[in-house]
Subunit: 313 residues, 2 copies
DNA sequence: TCAAAAGTGTTATCCTTACACCCATGT
DNA sequence: ACATGGGTGTAAGGATAACACTTTTGA
């Protein structure tokens, strides 16, 4: 068996926040779907993936990355390739990175797109999204019935059926993969899945992305939602000083659900993750809000808990 | 910049259980430290990593893998290579796999080694392991003090200081990496870390492994401990029929802590993860124990919760 | 003085924890 | 009958969820 050259692609889901809108950094080529920034890993230049990633991200986008976490490595050439397209990667490593949109130059910001454009069924901040009952559930149920195997219906029910989304907001990837399997996202049609419902009338769900980039985005969002609960990563999205309401809006934007104000505040202060400053912010419209800062030192001592979110708004 | 051939190594931490002893599949070459089974990924033969992994594992070890999960991909040639050794991998993908030792042929079983030989500080089933207070803490504290930076002491305290291990049992990797940084494990000396305490008198902690395989084992154990709490993966380690006590012993062996019998049973039955059979097992010495089976179908319906463990024994 | 957002106090409920006892079998 | 492990009921305590109200500013 001959040795074979394999090139490694690094793909980054870079998440940021601007005015309560959760954003993902994308690249657009004329006439093509959005793509996540990605680059080659060159082991001669960079000792580790993460160093390589930080390097070309700062080159390509003028952006300093804060938190960086590896998501998953795909060695899968079959499923998510563009057919007829030359996919040079046999292996691609997905990364989640967090950054502060405000702290970065405006021309860079132009490339940020709202996350929920790509995953509209994940935004429950204003209650259960209409698209679920109007588009997703009927089509998924039809698909599950055709498949026969009862497990499919169970999965549909479990992932999209819950009345008010218990605490399953982190199953973002599972939901995306179910939609893919059922042929309800553009990528499935493009990849030529047999089950793909090729009705040209019903629109595909959400904006699609090139390659498997939407799958990487789903992985990133799910991982981040889960991580919020046990690590103080949310502060990577916040500026140095912030109000408690801004913090709550950020958590809500990422986790996709509305939170209960009083309980949120209690949980935050119980976590000792923030400390009050003397400053206040008067531009909020009503009573001025105290500004807080992340209590990095305190958190290092403790078991570095995240924010328990509490239930709903 | 020239394209470069990169080969992908797959390394598996294959965990099983025999008579309440948690096991890891290892390979031994004469005169060398233990190693995890590993193989090359050949994209021409296998469409995905997981298919490749299952394939060479069944070739090399006659073993059927149940649950398989990707852990992490290392592109790091510097840190964990054997110096002077030819490391053909620039990239290696670590996997966790679960299997049933009982269900596999005896000559295969000969290669299973007890997990806690490699990570003795992780086994709290009989209380806080003596090695922590006798060996680890004094040496870590000495190291932290020499370093000056106060964050080090905090980390030592957080990872090894807790009196009875709150619920931080899943930070297996963090603990291993701290020991590595402080030069207290054989691998650090071997890799030539500057801080390595090269006292030939004090023994290195735990049995070492080749390359970065002990780091992969630590990653695997930590991930499995975390996963137990929200996914019913423990049943992958159990035979078809089992007693509740056997289930408890298995959870204890993996999570490394003793559990409270009554509460464990209540939590298990509340989860509806198991169903009673008519059979009983009379070989346990006292009153015969009912045999249970994993209620796979029931679990598919629900949000597929794992076992909340409850506190301690 | 009113709108708009910040900020606080208190109770009901459920889940977790901890405790002590009974049951069925083999020897 | 007794040793051994299997199996259960219940009450105390703490965390969560849900409630309504007061405060401070700008217009």
């Amino acid at each position: 068996m001959t040795e074979r050259a394999i090139s490694i692609g690094l793909t980054a889901a870079i998440i940021a926040m601007r005015e309560n809108v959760p954003l993902i950094l994308t690249q657009h080529e004329a006439g093509k779907a959005a793509a996540l920034p990605s680059g080659q890993f060159n082991p001669l230049l960079h000792r580790t993936f993460e160093i390589g990633l930080r390097d070309w991200v700062s080159e390509q986008t003028d952006m300093r990355l804060g938190y960086v976490e590896q998501l998953y490595t795909f060695g899968d050439r079959g499923r998510h390739a563009m057919p007829g397209d030359v996919d040079p990667h046999v292996v691609s490593v997905g990364y989640l990175a967090l950054t502060q949109a405000e702290a970065n130059p405006p021309q860079t910001q132009a490339d940020f797109a709202e996350i929920y454009l790509f995953l509209p069924w994940e935004d429950w901040r204003n209650g259960r999204p209409a698209i679920i009952d109007e588009q997703i559930l009927p089509r998924l149920q039809g698909w599950a019935k055709k498949q026969g195997a009862s497990g499919k219906s169970d999965r549909v029910q479990r992932l999209f059926g819950s009345a008010s989304g218990g605490s399953d907001e982190e199953f973002v990837l599972e939901r995306y993969e179910l939609l893919y399997e059922a042929g309800l996202v553009e990528e499935a049609r493009r990849d030529g899945r047999e089950n793909a419902q090729s009705d040209t009338i019903t629109p595909a769900l959400g904006q699609s992305m090139q390659f498997d980039h939407r799958r990487i985005l789903a992985t990133a969002l799910g991982r981040l939602r889960a991580k919020l609960k046990y690590r103080p990563v949310i502060f990577e999205l916040m500026p140095e000083l912030f109000t408690l309401t801004a913090l709550q809006r950020t958590v809500e934007a990422i986790s996709g659900r509305a939170l209960h104000k009083q309980n949120f505040r209690r949980l935050v202060s119980a976590s000792h993750a923030v400390e009050e400053t003397n400053a206040v912010l008067t531009t909020t419209g009503g009573r001025p809000a105290s500004l807080y800062r992340f209590a990095r030192e305190v958190i290092d001592l403790r078991a570095a808990v995240g924010l328990r979110l509490g239930r709903r708004g």
